[in-house]
């Protein structure tokens, strides 16, 4: 996976850095050369100004250049017979060149840059230590390069900011798209999106629209079909009762009981199909609702209690933490209720079902631990499939309970998982909820 932003950022930072280094180096070279020329010019100017002075003047033993008193300059004035008239620093012994011009000398380990001027009556020699010249040149060059050196890291910062700003609409788009999967009829906004990306967004909107239509159609179909089937099932139920009522010895025919069982299974299945269609429906609200998890578990517990009592199953809360979670109260009651009902259905008479509510970090957990037979590993992965039933067909239940639970969990951002107890003494169904922000 490559990030456009990272790629562009690295390339632009690299580019700016290379340009910065080249510009800096170039400026440094030019500046050093210019400084050299400037200092040479200075030496010549001093020589010329000394030559213009009347010969009597010039008692001053040293002439210091105005700008920098450390730029020690030695002025040596001689007559045409190379006899010293004045020397500002007699300790130096720089050989005097025979013609006007610049020259370099090493005297006593110190390097000098010298300008010699052969005037009409005098010879003027102006010298400066090379080391000092170099120092001054570098100092000046450094000042020239400094802004560039500072601008390079600043450009990195600028590049980073620019790209994260330019790509922000894309990040917003991603978040919007992610939210769109769980809500109904959302269209992605094109405002603030770069024009290059707008066609992509339009295409996505198209696809989203079609997908929503398809989902809505599918849900409507399941729900409509189940609703439509309710009337004939009711008609059939009533007919069977009427028939049974009209036969005095109806009690002798077990077929009536079997027909009624079949019909009640059919109506239970219709009910489950409707629940599933409803659980699959996207949330109308944006999902900011929170629910009292403990109250939801109690309500689900109360709903399953009669069924558990009939099977003499000991059903109760083992330990609980008190917490609010994200989701709609009704959804959570139904979700936990489905799992408890499932546990009651598959736990043999006289068994035990414990419910735990715990908080771990930002998550809240509900665990339903039964003392049933558990599930073989192969079945664990398949139980969330629609109409999959591990138990034999004559067991009550439609094979939709866990699918409904999973769909409800998806609605409130929760996760359902099943695992066998370590010692195979039953099944643990766990729901991980997102705790509501306090």
């Amino acid at each position: 996976m490559t990030s456009l932003r990272a790629k562009l950022t690295v390339w632009f930072i690299g580019l700016f850095t290379v340009v910065g280094i080249l510009a800096g180096a170039g400026t440094l070279l030019v500046s050093l050369r210019e400084q050299d020329a400037l200092l040479d010019d200075q030496l010549r100017q001093i020589a010329l100004s000394v030559s213009d002075l009347p010969s009597a003047v010039g008692e001053s033993s040293r002439i210091t250049s105005g700008a920098n008193p450390d730029d020690e300059i030695v002025v040596h004035v001689l007559d045409r017979n190379f006899q010293t008239i004045r020397n500002s620093d007699p300790s130096t012994a720089i050989p005097v060149a025979g013609k006007t011009g610049f020259s370099n000398h090493v005297d006593d380990g110190v390097e000098w840059r010298t300008f010699t001027l052969i005037a009409e009556t005098r010879i003027i020699q102006v010298s400066q230590q090379t080391e000092l010249r170099t120092e001054a040149a570098w100092a000046a060059a450094f000042n020239t390069v400094l802004p560039i050196a500072l601008l390079v890291p600043l450009s990195w910062l600028f590049v980073g900011l620019l790209f994260s700003r330019a790509l922000r609409p894309l990040i917003g788009l991603t978040n919007e798209l992610r939210a769109a999967q769980t809500s109904d009829g959302v269209k992605l906004k094109t405002e603030g999106i770069p024009s290059e990306v707008v066609p992509l967004v339009a295409a996505m909107n198209d696809l989203l629209g079609r997908q929503n239509e398809l989902i809505a159609f599918h849900q409507r179909f399941v729900s409509d079909a189940a609703h439509q089937l309710r009337t004939p099932v009711t008609a059939l139920t009533l007919q069977v009762e009427e028939l049974k009522g009209s036969l005095p010895e109806a009690g002798n025919f077990p077929v009536f009981a079997r027909m009624q069982t079949g019909l009640s299974r059919m109506s239970a299945l219709l009910g489950q199909l409707l629940k599933l269609a409803r659980a699959d429906a996207p949330l109308k609200a944006a999902g900011h609702e929170t629910a009292d998890l403990n109250a939801a578990v109690r309500a689900a517990l109360a709903d399953a209690f009669t069924m558990a009592t009939a099977k003499t199953i000991d059903l109760g809360i083992e330990k609980e933490a008190f917490v609010r979670v994200k989701g709609e109260q009704m959804d959570i009651v139904m979700l936990v209720g489905n799992l408890i009902e499932n546990a009651v259905r598959y736990t043999p008479a006289g068994g035990k079902i414990d419910i735990d509510i715990a908080i771990l970090g930002d998550d809240a957990f509900v665990a339903i631990k039964d003392s049933g037979p558990g599930l073989p590993e192969g079945a664990l992965a398949r139980v969330f499939e629609r109409f999959y039933r591990h138990a034999p067909q004559d067991t009550e239940g439609s094979g939709l309970g866990l699918s409904i639970a999973a769909a409800l969990a998806a609605r409130c951002g929760a996760e359902v998982s099943l695992e066998n107890r370590k010692d195979r003494s039953g099944l643990i169904a766990t729901v991980k909820f997102k705790a509501a922000d306090a």
Partner: protein, 238 residues
Amino acid sequence: MARRPICAVGLVKEKRFMRVLLVEDDGMIGSSLRSGLASQGMAVDWVQNAGDAEDSFRSSVYALVLLDLGLPDSSGLEVLKKIRTAKNKTPILIVTARDDLPSKIAGLDLGADDYIIKPFDFSELMARIRAVIRRQAGHSASKIECGEVLLDMASHEASYRRTRHVLPAREFALLLSLAERAGTILSRSQLEERLYGSGEEVESNAVDVLIFYIRKKFGHDIIRNVRGAGWLIPKDRP
């Protein structure tokens, strides 16, 4: 969708030879219901569309209306609205295949007395009919019946299965709290809140003591323990 508890406030008294208007467009359901209700001693007028329903309603007086919402010519909700706008208080029981919350709320808001969802069987329908009639008959609200528990508010008499006792105030109040919200678990603190004033000092085992005495009179099963959660009285008869 949880079913409405078959609990009723009012006098438990059968009404005989009631005249019932049955509005149901499905032929099979209609004929079965007509013969079923007739066998219960009711006189049934069966119509299959909204227009006929309104005509019958104008010309006769009924003790009860069974109203299907999905009618061929208009919605049953329209019929309901017309009946209630005419300030007619005849009990109306909606019979429908639609159990989504909005249409349920719409029905009850428009003044239906109860709501029964297809598929149902005849005994369930009769229980609802009896409950609606009882509610209509007795606004005196002197008795509460829930599952197997019957409470007389005036005399503080409670009956359960075959036992019947007049209870001390606190025991009666506890039983009433649970019966009013039958099928709902009440925790110790919720019960204490209902039984004792806010300033009152409550012994930590006060609720247990009351329940112990109630069970001693009626048997252990009148109030069920829900481990780790609290107590409840089941909503349905087992």
